[in-house]
């Protein structure tokens, strides 16, 4: 469902995106947050003394312990330290996010390039397929795919990627279509450069930047959608730590044991927000 941000139009980037971003305080802040999240996901074991709990080892005696010095975020229903869980959950969230977006780009972008560049019946076929793919309610489709394939991390990522690729096809196709008409492509043709060299040298580098913009925006949505799937029990499976899964389990303890949903919920929010902010800035810069 979180797919609409991709409707903003794209133009060719006149200036370097990083330079623009440096001047946007929100972009700086969000990049910092993302860096911190990535680093803390990578170095999670070093940031907590309860790494085992973070990875899933139960500690029943501490069940639902409220936040305290020992558990700054409190403990979950199996007594695991929520701080450690949230920390390790970042690995899953970021991993899922990248996997989904990467998967969607991998399927969508080449199809879009082919459709846009070659045009004709190939374009027609590919675009009708994406029309159909878009007509499916995305979350419904993701749920169906995830429940058909069996719930786990990769399947959830595949399920979501399978509902997202058409957007990349559209973006890349629109770009390729516009590029195809550009004089520099015609110039390459006149020189006698072959089709695939043209795609590789002249089309792809120019398509990349809108795709990167879109991907940045989508990372936030990917994390959110993955969380929604996990919330339904179709995402990452316990004891693997996952924010959506934590909120889903913690929900029944709300509001008396507020900490259980609050910390992972906030983590999802912050991660999504950071990527969305960055994506938004990148998009602005790209205009």
């Amino acid at each position: 469902m979180k797919v609409f941000t991709r409707w903003f139009g794209f133009r060719f980037a006149p200036d370097s995106i990083p330079a623009h971003l440096r001047r946007d305080p929100l972009a700086v802040v969000s990049s910092l947050i993302i860096m911190i999240m990535i680093l803390s996901a990578i170095f999670a074991p070093l940031l907590t003394s309860r790494a085992a709990e973070g990875l899933g080892e139960p500690n029943p005696s501490e069940k639902l312990a409220p936040p305290s010095a020992a558990h700054i975020f409190g403990a979950d229903h199996l007594g695991r330290d929520l701080y450690a869980r949230v920390l390790f959950g970042g690995r899953t969230a970021l991993g899922m996010g990248f996997l989904i977006v990467f998967g969607a780009v991998l399927i969508g972008a080449p199809l879009g390039a082919i459709a846009g560049y070659f045009g004709g019946w190939l374009d027609e076929v590919i675009m009708r397929v994406t029309d159909v793919a878009l007509a499916f309610p995305p979350l419904l489709l993701a749920i169906a795919i995830a429940s058909a394939l069996g719930p786990n991390l990769t399947n959830a990522a595949i399920a979501i990627a399978l509902t997202w690729w058409p957007w990349y096809t559209r973006i890349v196709r629109a770009q390729a279509l516009a590029l195809r008409e550009r004089p520099f492509i015609e110039a390459a043709h006149v020189i006698g450069v072959g089709n695939f060299t043209i795609i590789a040298r002249h089309i792809l580098p120019n398509v990349l930047s809108p795709v990167i913009v879109q991907a940045t925006l989508d990372l936030g949505s990917a994390i959110l959608t993955a969380a929604a799937l996990s919330f339904l029990g179709l995402g990452v499976q316990p004891p693997t730590p996952d924010w959506g899964q934590m909120v889903s389990t913690g929900r029944i303890y709300f509001p008396q044991r507020w900490w259980y949903v609050t910390f992972p919920g906030t983590a999802i929010f912050i991660a999504t927000m950071a990527f969305n902010l960055l994506g938004d800035s990148v998009q602005d810069a790209n205009k």
């Binding site: 469902m1 749920i143 959110l224």
Partner: protein, 339 residues
């Protein structure tokens, strides 16, 4: 215009047919035994066999598909394997509930998102733009389920039962102020019955779920409108209109908005169609008996006929809304038709 419409209609039909084929066949590929499901919670072997025969599952797939299409054309969406309900009847119950919610949130998105987006876009970089930028990005970053919980806690807990937490009307109204279900939209049915107590109750119940559901489309509409406005306002015809001395209000809400509204409408239409099933988290949390919950349950139960039927209905909405938006677009922008 006519040929344009015909072409769009044809494409829409193509999409619907393809979706029906794909869902139908994919549903069959999901590893599960529909006969066992049909036979009930703890069926015996012969109940399963009987079910298989009854459902003609032993027939070739394409036969099953044609039978399915024939039934649909007769207005029969089939029967749920799990509950044995007539799906059409179920949808008549659940679709209006969801529609009521989704329409309410879409209206909110239009009423709040578009004007604020226009103003933010008009002074882009200004304080309104900066504030709404952060707010609307936050709005699309909230996990729905979390937002719902926070709203529940805030409005019910902190603000002491300002709004009810679940269901479409309260038990008291159902018991003592009931009204006939005509359209299935409670806000309308209560009015039709002239029952204002029930109407107020229904309004009161729809507020929290609508708020939860609307956060995303409001933010999205705002961002889209703003982006389109920024883009449109940089068009030369806007400078030209200013040079002609037209007042700013006219320029924003007449000249620019008409050109900037199309992407917003497209997105709003999509969001509307996707919310029909995508609202289910809200529906679960607010015990709102809607389509999303209905089909999600069906998915968990691998209840094919329901999945297929709902997918078709939603697709129907999807293509009709798209068609509608396209027509509006053609109406707003005379250049479109010629393409």
């Amino acid at each position: 215009m006519l040929i344009y419409l015909l072409r769009r209609l044809l494409l829409a039909i193509l999409v619907i047919v393809s979706v029906s084929v794909v869902t139908f066949f994919v549903a069959r590929v999901i590893p599960s035994d529909p006969a066992a499901l049909y036979a009930g919670q703890r069926p015996t072997s012969d109940q399963i066999a009987a079910a298989r025969e009854r459902l003609e599952l032993d027939q070739p797939l394409y036969n099953q598909y044609f039978r399915f299409v024939r039934d649909i054309l007769k207005g029969d969406l089939g029967t749920s394997y799990k509950t044995k309900h007539a799906i059409l009847a179920d949808i008549k119950t659940f679709l209006p509930a969801t529609l009521e919610l989704v329409i309410a949130s879409t209206l909110m998105a239009i009423i709040i998102g578009i004007p604020v987006g226009v103003l933010a876009g008009a002074k882009h970089g200004g304080w309104l733009d900066q504030t709404t930028r952060i707010l609307s990005i936050a709005g699309v970053s909230f996990p729905t389920f979390w937002l719902a919980l926070v709203l529940q806690l805030f409005f019910f807990g902190t603000l002491h039962r300002l709004f009810p937490l679940s269901s479409r009307i309260s038990n008291n109204v159902a018991l003592f102020n009931s009204f006939p279900a005509v359209t299935g939209f409670y806000l309308i049915d209560t009015l039709l019955a002239g029952n204002f107590i029930a109407w107020r109750d229904a309004v009161w119940h729809i507020i929290l779920p609508t708020l939860t559901l609307a956060t995303y489309p409001i933010s999205l509409t705002l961002r889209m409108t703003r982006a389109a406005m920024v883009e449109t306002l940089s068009e030369k015809y806007i400078t030209a209109a200013r040079a002609q001395g037209l007042p700013e209000r006219d320029i924003l809400f007449r000249y620019a908005l008409k050109n900037a509204i199309v992407p917003t409408l497209t997105v709003l239409g999509l969001s509307f169609a996707y919310s029909l099933t995508g609202a289910f988290l809200v529906e679960v949390i607010f015990s709102w008996p809607g389509l999303g919950k209905y089909v999600t349950d069906a998915i968990f139960n691998v209840d094919f006929p329901v999945i297929v039927a709902v997918t078709l209905i939603v697709t129907l909405f999807f293509v009709s809304i798209n068609l509608f938006v396209d027509i509006i677009q053609a109406f707003l922008d005379p250049r479109v038709v010629l393409r």
